[in-house]
Symmetry: C2
Subunit: 147 residues, 2 copies
């Protein structure tokens, strides 16, 4: 069982997609994260669901518990409205050291280790310039525990 | 909208639960992670789904891509069998600096910031010694995007 056998079709978002649309796509389809592709269709970022929240939460709130606590609901809604005006590219965090991407020959164990290390519940499977699909944490666990 | 309004019942695992049973519970119910409780029923660790994989993948494979690649499927299955003999407590990673736990008065923004910071798609809501339930990433996003 290799990455190519586990890869399933997975929706992608572009760098110019509105951040709000990207967040809605994640929520509506209950996706574990987003694959952000560049103009050539190649994954440029694999964004775990928790990191998509960074698109919606102002930076000064992310690191400061007290500030996040005092902002009331009305203000929180305003931050979300701002999302519609920004693209995914404008909201991306600084690049991760390691991308959650594997080649088609990656083993189950290799994918599991990569997910654990990058804390990404989603790994894109890329063959050269072609994205074959993605392996989700759920799909990987189902396969690992099936035997 | 506060944490107490968002908290939904969520299954827990004990420190003495077999690691294999814990992994199966995650996979079977498609949970985003596990709440590990101590003998008093209080959350001692919130384990994101990706970190549950650390229970199943040998440590020397987690950090070494080349090693994970050369181990064949037959050997990978053996690691999984080992899981049945170990408890959750024996497999836990070293404690995180910050636990994904909030009080009942935490705001939506506060929960979102905590999820982003701890990279946990799951936050336990605890009132004193009582666990009220958990807020998942999906539930939080649905709430944030509903307005």
């Amino acid at each position: 069982m290799r990455a190519r056998d586990l890869a399933a079709p997975y929706p992608t978002v572009g760098l110019s997609t509105s951040a709000l649309d990207a967040a809605r796509q994640l929520a509506d389809a209950n996706l574990p994260g987003l694959i952000v592709v560049d103009a050539a269709g190649r994954p440029s970022t694999i964004l775990p669901g928790t990191q998509v929240l960074r698109l919606a939460v102002p930076k000064y709130c992310q690191e400061n518990v007290a500030l996040a606590r005092v902002i009331d609901e009305a203000h929180a809604d305003e931050f979300l409205r701002d999302l519609a005006d920004r693209t995914v590219a404008e909201c991306l965090p600084k690049p991760e050291r390691e991308l959650a991407i594997v080649g088609p020959d990656a083993t189950v164990l290799e994918i599991a280790a990569l997910m654990a290390r990058t804390r990404s519940p989603l790994v894109a499977v890329v063959d050269g310039h072609t994205t074959l699909g993605a392996v989700t944490l759920d799909a990987l666990l189902d396969r690992m525990l099936a035997s």
